[in-house]
Subunit: 360 residues, 2 copies
Amino acid sequence: MTDTRPSATTPDAYVLGVDSGGSGLRVALGRAGSDGPLSTAVCAEPVRTGTGGIDAAHLLEQLLPVAAELLERAAAGGGRPANGPAGEGPTASGPTRDGSVRVAALAVGAAGMATLGGRLRAELPGALSAALGVRRLALAADAVTAYAGAVGQRPGAVVAGGTGMIALGTDLVEWRRADGWGHLLGDNGSGAWIGRAGLEAAMRAHDRRRGGSPALLDRLRAVFGPAEELPGLLYPRSDRPAVLASFAPEVAACAGADAIAAEILRRAGVHIAEAAAAVCPKDGAEADGGCEVALTGGLFRMGEPLIGPVREELARLVPQARVTTGTGDPLTGALRIARALATDDLRLPHHPTMLSVQNT
Amino acid sequence: MTDTRPSATTPDAYVLGVDSGGSGLRVALGRAGSDGPLSTAVCAEPVRTGTGGIDAAHLLEQLLPVAAELLERAAAGGGRPANGPAGEGPTASGPTRDGSVRVAALAVGAAGMATLGGRLRAELPGALSAALGVRRLALAADAVTAYAGAVGQRPGAVVAGGTGMIALGTDLVEWRRADGWGHLLGDNGSGAWIGRAGLEAAMRAHDRRRGGSPALLDRLRAVFGPAEELPGLLYPRSDRPAVLASFAPEVAACAGADAIAAEILRRAGVHIAEAAAAVCPKDGAEADGGCEVALTGGLFRMGEPLIGPVREELARLVPQARVTTGTGDPLTGALRIARALATDDLRLPHHPTMLSVQNT
């Protein structure tokens, strides 16, 4: 279905990027023909997930007023950020009342899209077309928006690390994914993995097994209290991976002076390199100056004690790899995908669950 | 408080051992003066645990009719096992109606006694005295009854392995404990640990990371279905450690032909040896023919692929250690503790939560 209405591709057509994650919903407004966001907004309430998947109605309830306000402000010539949900003013649902196309394309990146995105895929196109005049819609896994933010539309690989860890790579023909299986089946090298390894080393010091770290035991006691009471604190929690990950910065802080903590970070770096190596595109990268491997997400704020080992191990596994950090975030990635959609320039591979595109 | 009634210590006085675990309540009846049980019974319903700890009323509800029936049968000259909860017959609560001392001592071993045993310690002495004429009562952590069953009342160490793993040792002055911290903080080498390592190696084969085992991936698919759907199956379960441990036999089955599976068992054996080494009594053991380290529990049914590495590593860490297997179970241990109590011969160290003794 080719769209011929000129407003979809004029450089001043609006595009929207949306990033839905555990800490809330973030929205960025931009224009099809220029880089960067005009303005961004944050809704602090995470979108609900139920047995039917990600709650499309809850997402729309938060997104629509914010998007409408961003559009109104942009139309009024202002670009200042909206820092919360907008009120239901008379213009909040107005953009499409005159039938004009206000938003040429919108891209949503969401955690759990692959397994939980069914309702979004079914309900969002109609609702966004009706409310905002959205003509093209992309629904992307959060790893894909992380990729688009960090690497853009070139071949390469991204490692997105936080409480969990996933690697995603593409040669622009297909996606390859490694790890991201959660704290019991993988996420090797993630915040939860590092924190758990640190707590294990602390418990080993507590009961005098080999491999214990007295420094990490000190940190455990400072953060959680007596070591023997930690199981009773941890296991009843429903956010166990986050509790484990909360100890990762303690491991990083000890790594300078404690050999066991340093070794945990080194092993984490090896795991991260293994995941990156598994998804690096094999062909064509060398001609283009090597395979770009972008490290993104809060995990890599640990800096060199973690990134150094990633770089070293990756040099062994994929000599042509080139590690980058400090690149764009998933919201930037969502906006880039929306812009590429609006200008018929989406080069990242379509995929039923990772990156699905619909005309609305 | 010294008890002078002769019935407490006559060789034909009855003693009861109780083992309360995840798979139900088991009861053994014996006599103070002779080894082994006269008869045993099983209640398949596990004792409930609430916010107040192990539910003393629920334990008594199951234990009392069974104990009464075992006593009745023994008095009638029969020793055949009772294989289920006894009915509430006219004699079920009869043993103490005449005021006679029917049970000289009773020992209960329970999982979670250390942290959850408060209600048992408060409520059991009075109730058991009233209902069965129990005069001495021991409340023991399940690791202590495992020790008593496997090692008896000598110095040494036990490793109790199943879904979890804990090591306990004593020089008969104090207890030393290592690991048993649960599947996120330790239990290194346990069934959950081995199963998790096996599933991780399978997922690595699935996404083509280094360290993957195609053989374990085949077993994962045979047991759980498609690999990418395993996270969705595992994480919503409340019995995740048991699900992980259910894969441990698959790892053991692959270990003969698969180097990665064999290496998982080898590392598990090293972890188990480390825990045993941390609790081996340091003094006096050499004179007595070495420190006995008993391996007990379902984990060690894996046999040599696991026990071999334990023995090898332990020989390095504690040269005087002597590994034994196939020794008595925790129910045997509970009965032994009861018998020792009845005959004033308890040599295992008292401890507020590990092994508390009360006259009733």
